[in-house]
Amino acid sequence: MKLALHVNEILVERDVEPDVTLVEFLRAHLELTGTHVGCNNGICGSCTVLLNGEAVRACLLLAVQVDGASITTVEGLGGRQLNPLQQAFVEYGAVQCGFCIPGMLVTATALLKSTPDATRAQIVTALEGNLCRCTGYVKIIEAVAAASAA
């Protein structure tokens, strides 16, 4: 099937099989391997991307479902420079193995867009669906809080 969508603000046109998931499309067809697949069951949150600004699990969507949409992956969050949220993750030591981090950053981006002054409680609620096995979440929360205006 023919597919046309914006990925990280660039128009992409591809022919894909109807059973290709969005995360497969991003990783295998577009070589955007920053979006990770921790479980492929929609539970771990590593594959989170923005679909028209909303955080979604790319392993639970088919590529054909997002025809015409605008997708943002971790590669599209900053430019050549780190954005303030990415900078906070680096400074606060929020990154250990880093495998969950793209999903964390994308989820936090969606939160801070809708709630720029997110409180600690709101941050915790927003990140509940993103699993991390390395950090105990302490420094991830600190980093998002630092990037929040609250």
Partner: protein, 755 residues
């Protein structure tokens, strides 16, 4: 400005927050094939027929490997045969594929093809006929005389048996003022790293084997592959891409043997990757253990006798099991020295998925037993639990009774002080506090760990590093110390930079690639910053000495008159007589010389210590335990990068909390099928579940670690479950004997006490 002691950002964090860091499954090579396993639905069965013809005929399928077409050389996926902690005759109990399966999920075939869907289709076309055999899943049942035999060459399903006996336990126990007994059993906790394990292998046209994998032991994997495929070690290259967590799961072999065998069969690069379901049904776990512990105490609280019986379920293969059992002695026999000891540890084969190394390596199981026994003893002796531990714990200046290593630094008293103060331990005298159906209590536990595995003369604990000065005076460190997220590749540079007198920014660390790094045994046993850090520091020292000798000749002064700071070599006491490092290096370079330093980790070890304090609330109607606070005061020696160390401790606490309260992968009693194959069934701590963590770094510098550092990565897991169990007892009066301490189990204990 010096780098050591500063919370510098992790070097690899920039790649990781931009999505440009490449993990193994992100790699692509031209002509690369994709591979997947076919796995057994039966726990114990002989394969009577395996028909791969239809699968083989599928367009796009390049190879299907089974027991019928692969080599039969025996190996162990663990590293014990290489480390030599103790000899275990049954270690080499695995082959690529056997004609028998020993657990649900064991691989019976692997297929490689042009894309993952074709491979999946091929696996569905493979026809396997099994002759079912009786199976046993529990370690105690597997030891019974009529239990099914899991390996033909092993009697009584005993993978290893380790007795340790010192003094006269029976007499000392009889004469003890107080004898405390407690028996515990522990769970099958999964490492549950978020990266699904993958391996890319390419047996190339020149006959070299190239492997990219998230292994924690690249040089050991190189050695193991060389032996398995009968190659010189120089023909095998193992590389770490970024590693998405491992926690022990990627020590020794994971997918490397099968990926290499497929590449050899197809002549193509092959990427083999596990699904999350396979990560649960395979890929190692903590060893479920039964531990019975009896300790006798003198009237003043000093232990006089200790008797430990420990049975570990190693699953279908020995792997790390024998060494995990051996390692638990380090947790029973050192922190509270005891003159009369009888330890008996057995690792037992069952038809469970193989257990392996998991951060803590026996420590959490042992800690759950002994730290509760100390708590019970304190109650019986009418002593405060902190006071009893202060009285009987090992001290600075003494020698540990197991390995006979000197304890040259010990911040444990300060851990007790600062942890007690932070949680306000004195409140315990007015505990438990009742609030409706909730009861609140305080508990604590202590821990003594290791910095690496240099503990017995026979043990391999080697790290070698080189430092090369480049023509502009910057420096390159080469060392195969893996960074599974630990920050080692940042902290090692901090150590090297300060020893070199160069700014942090001018020192880089090369890739973990066995082709270009000297030998390094691996990232386990809380050893990397300690042992590889010592090697890096000595390599830096060596290259500095060479550099200063050249500068002394150039300036016509004695070496002792020179100082090196911030890339400038100066003659002491002068203002104008100085040279830049770059100038000295460049002068040598033009004469055909490059400064290369080397360092080897000395065979030293230094125990880190910790004390953890938990405040919990127990719902007496449902058995739910809420941890309100968890304070961890850890003596990690000098914190080379405090924020990284805090992160290590916080991560270990999260896994310790999961071990204590949430995590287990039970097997179906009839079929042996794992009952948790997704993160929906197997709960790891989530962000909202986590209690507040308060980490206190106590820094009693170690005389033998780099800049005073000690091991820090694993210790946080050791005492957490016991601290919580002791707090539950303080709150409710019930004593827990199983982890996870689920609401059902706590409620059952409460009901038993009420009955």
């Amino acid at each position: 400005m010096t780098a050591v002691g500063r919370s510098l950002p992790k070097r690899d964090a920039f790649e990781k927050v931009t999505g440009t860091a490449r993990y193994t499954a992100d790699l692509r090579l031209p002509g690369m094939l994709y591979a997947r396993f076919l796995r057994s639905p039966h726990a114990h069965a002989r394969i009577t027929n395996i028909d791969t013809r239809a699968a083989q005929a599928l367009p796009g399928i390049h190879a299907i490997l089974t027991h019928a077409n692969t080599i039969k050389k025996r190996y162990s996926d663990g590293k014990s045969d290489q480390l030599g902690l103790l000899p275990h005759p049954h270690n080499l109990d695995q082959v690529l594929f056997d004609d028998k399966v020993r657990y649900v999920g064991e691989a019976v075939a692997v297929a490689a093809g042009v894309d993952p869907r074709t491979v999946q289709h091929a696996l569905e076309l493979i026809d396997v006929e099994y002759e079912l055999l009786p199976a046993v899943f529990d370690a105690l049942q597997a030891l019974e005389p009529n239990a099914p035999r899991i390996h033909d060459h092993v009697q009584h399903n005993t993978a290893s048996h380790l007795p340790v006996s010192v003094g006269d336990v029976e007499t000392a126990m009889r004469d003890a003022y107080v004898v405390v007994e407690h028996a515990v059993s522990t769970s099958r906790q999964k490492q549950a790293q978020i990266e699904r394990t993958a391996c890319l292998a390419h047996w190339d046209e020149s006959g070299r084997v190239n492997v990219w994998s998230p292994t924690q032991t690249p040089h050991l994997v190189k050695q193991k592959l060389a032996v398995l495929f009968d190659l010189p070690q120089s023909c095998v290259r193992v590389v770490n891409p970024h590693i998405g967590g491992s926690f022990g799961a990627t020590m020794g072999f994971t997918l490397e043997p099968h990926a290499v065998a497929l590449s050899r069969a197809t002549g193509r690069p092959v990427l083999l990757e596990l699904s999350r379901e396979e990560m649960f049904s395979n890929n190692s776990s903590r060893h479920p253990m039964y531990i019975s512990l009896a300790m006798g105490f003198a009237r003043d609280g000093h232990p006089v006798a200790m008797k430990v019986r420990e049975i570990a379920n190693t699953g279908a293969y020995a792997s790390e099991g024998p060494d995990v059992v051996a390692a638990t002695t380090a947790h029973f026999l050192r922190l509270y020295p005891c003159p009369n000891v009888m330890f008996e540890g057995t690792s037992v084969y069952t038809n469970a998925p193989p257990a392996g190394g998991f951060r803590g390596y026996g420590g959490p199981q042992a800690g759950f037993a002994i730290e509760q026994v100390i708590d019970i003893a304190a109650e019986r002796l009418q002593l405060d639990p902190v006071e009893l531990r202060r009285r009987i714990c090992i001290r600075k200046g003494s020698v540990d009774p197991l390995f006979h290593l000197p304890v040259r630094s010990c911040g444990l008293p300060e851990c007790f002080d600062r942890g007690s103060e932070r949680i306000d331990w004195l409140r315990r005298s007015s505990m438990p506090v009742a609030n409706g159906r909730w009861r609140r209590g305080l508990g604590m536990a202590a821990v003594m760990w290791v910095s690496g595995t240099a503990c017995l003369p026979s043990t391999l604990d080697t790290s070698v590093a080189t430092v090369m000065l480049l023509e502009d005076g910057s420096a390159m460190l080469h060392c195969a110390a893996c960074d599974m997220g630990t920050g080692a590749r940042t902290t090692l540079v901090q150590v090297a930079a300060d020893e070199l007198g160069l700014p942090f920014e001018r020192v880089q660390i090369g890739p973990v690639d066995t082709d270009v790094t000297p030998f390094e045994v691996g990232a386990h046993g809380s050893r990397t910053l300690f042992a590889a850090g010592n090697a890096a520091r000595l390599a830096a020292r060596d290259v500095c000495d060479q550099l200063l000798a050249a500068a002394a000749a150039q300036l016509e002064v004695a070496i002792a008159d020179l100082t090196l700071e911030n890339s400038i070599i100066s003659v002491r006491g002068t203002r104008d007589r100085s040279l830049s490092v770059a100038a000295v290096v460049n002068a040598a370079y033009r004469r055909g010389h490059q400064f290369i330093g080397r360092g080897e980790s000395p065979q030293v070890n230094e125990p880190p210590f910790g004390a953890q304090f938990a405040e919990v609330e127990v719902d007496t109607e449902t058995g739910l335990v809420r941890v309100l606070r968890l304070v961890a005061a850890h003596d990690v020696g000098r914190a080379i990068n405090p924020r990284i160390v805090e992160g290590q401790v916080e991560g270990a606490l999260a896994q310790g909390l999961g071990f204590a309260l949430l995590e287990d992968m039970p097997l179906d009693a009839e079929s042996g099928s794992p009952q948790t194959l997704t993160f929906a069934d197997y709960r790891i701590p989530t962000v909202s579940w986590m209690p507040p963590l308060e980490v206190i770094l106590v820094e009693d510098p170690s005389p033998s670690g780099p800049f005073g550092a000690k091991g820090a990565g694993e210790m946080g897991l050791g005492p957490t479950a016991a601290a919580i169990a002791n707090a539950i007892h303080n709150a409710t009066g019930v004593r827990m004997s199983e982890v996870p301490m689920s609401p059902q189990r706590v409620l059952a204990a409460l009901n038993a006490a009420r009955a």
